[in-house]
Symmetry: C2
Subunit: 349 residues, 2 copies
Amino acid sequence: VGRTEGIDLAVVAGDGIGTEVVEQGLAVLEAALAPSGTKLSTTEFDLGARRWHATGETLTDEDLEKIKGQDAILLGAIGDPSVPSGVLERGLLLKLRFALDHYVNLRPTKLFQGVSSPLADPGEIDFVVVREGTEGPYVGNGGALRVGTPHEIATEVSVNTAFGVERVVRDAFARAAARPRKHLTLVHKHNVLVHAGHLWRRTVEAVNAEFPDVTTDYAHVDAATIYLTTNPSRFDVIVTDNLFGDILTDQAAAISGGIGLAASANINPDRTSPSMFEPVHGSAPDIAGQGKADPTATILSVALLLEHLGFAAESAKVHDAVAADLATRGDAVRTTDQVGRDIAARVTE
Amino acid sequence: VGRTEGIDLAVVAGDGIGTEVVEQGLAVLEAALAPSGTKLSTTEFDLGARRWHATGETLTDEDLEKIKGQDAILLGAIGDPSVPSGVLERGLLLKLRFALDHYVNLRPTKLFQGVSSPLADPGEIDFVVVREGTEGPYVGNGGALRVGTPHEIATEVSVNTAFGVERVVRDAFARAAARPRKHLTLVHKHNVLVHAGHLWRRTVEAVNAEFPDVTTDYAHVDAATIYLTTNPSRFDVIVTDNLFGDILTDQAAAISGGIGLAASANINPDRTSPSMFEPVHGSAPDIAGQGKADPTATILSVALLLEHLGFAAESAKVHDAVAADLATRGDAVRTTDQVGRDIAARVTE
Ligand SMILES: CC(C)[C@H](C(=O)O)[C@@H](O)C(=O)O
Ligand SMILES: CC(C)[C@H](C(=O)O)[C@@H](O)C(=O)O
């Protein structure tokens, strides 16, 4: 990847509002890359509910091989009520995260100027959650016996390895070390989930030696939801497991302007496969096709994509364009396209 | 139990602020029972950090047998930083909940008049969480291999049975049916934890047939944290698993005046063993012994205790006394004792 070689981008628009927001994300990406003359080649992948209904396929080996040949993935949203719960989540979205070894699920939370928070006194909100992406209760290591009988038993196994925990913890420390406050909070529930929790805790202690100027603390996941309500300013970088990260980042989105603004990156820091950039929100079938979806979360995900691919100045430009748009947004109602166009115009300015 | 036989109460004051808040809880309990002439016999159990340091014991078979002979348990708080994480939680608190089959962990959330919420626009908050108490990721069914090596693997197993899910879901439906709004929300994560999640979902559907006038809906746990921030009024009764219930009830406490007001009941609805009443908060060693702890959560837990033992009028009296105290509380700072005395006085009025 680079200015001369160009970017090969896999585009998975997906379901519902996914197509609408991805269109605007791509427009802003083009606008950001134009000045440098970097060529953007997109390949669309028809994945999601439509494909599953038509063929029964979620993500074939062939799809996966083609995606592996790209530099990055831009994903809109996956899921539709017409598909049984879990089929597309496990068979497509999580399959991508696991197969491409996206072990860092990065979710920045910032209360931008001009955005109102549902908290009466939000203070400054500017933290990033480093959610582990390839282990924990998300491994699909569950099962059920005697289903549908009074003797049914269903299990879900959270799997945590030193290998998997250490690499994400090290990534989180590096991110904390690069931020002004240099503070890392481990969130877990080690007083109940003692085996997994103690592995996480010992790992944070051990890796801290490599980053002596990063301060650390710990919060149980239940307490963390309290802090996110009463004092979110206390957080700088949060590192946590896959499930706790899922829960906390939705709450984090809620306190900082809502899911329409929450960006995420599924990163493979070793760059052995393409990373994936997607808004935290879902496919929102209730508002799909009406131009009502806010593309801002996708556009902020594009900023993360640019940063990951080494286009730091372009990333900052997109981020600043979003910030400027939000600062003047007020109560005006704009369509998905309009928001995308306005932000793209600011990028081009 | 009854007006004539009296109440045999096990008192586990525990650690930190536990002793302080339990003292006030007991004073209010005495005040509430006095008019009826019901005799309250308390037996104190020396359990918690002090006992563990002195003897290495958390909860012996003998302790447990004695506790089983009581009508109910009032618990303050368990835990101290001097005890390794998990020892008292698993060996004492959770052991009580599991051994006494407290399968309904009841946590009402109400924004009382006079209490300010950290939410800018909280609306009406009045819901109850029915948290499963004897299964899920809390079963202690985890383990670790090659601990301390780069090949360490730690697992935590969430165990869910038709038996266990059905009984708590039925209890939640009965509670919903008895409330004006008659609405039940299942919270889970069935798009990822498909085996456990689908068991919960099918169970709610099946038990709904017994309670046809209760309406139901579903929220993923991540989305539930958003609703608790933006629109908590949507909830009436929430039924959920042990871990999700732990997380959501701390957030619920945060939006409704804080952990100093959050009551809970660990109920065995079959009455085969004593139920246990405790504030949601912990032992707060940082403020212990200073008269700073708010005993209100414990006193509201006493109201739940009275209700469970059939003293409905007395329970209502305690609840109303707390409501009246909160309505006039303002910013005045009172000691733990003073708050207890003021509420007891209102009960006696
Ligand atoms: C759709 C679902 C599988 C996904 C997750 O749980 O990770 C979503 O909630 C998210 O946070 O990206
Ligand atoms: C102390 C801990 C084991 C406990 C729990 O997780 O259940 C507490 O957080 C609670 O909510 O009562």
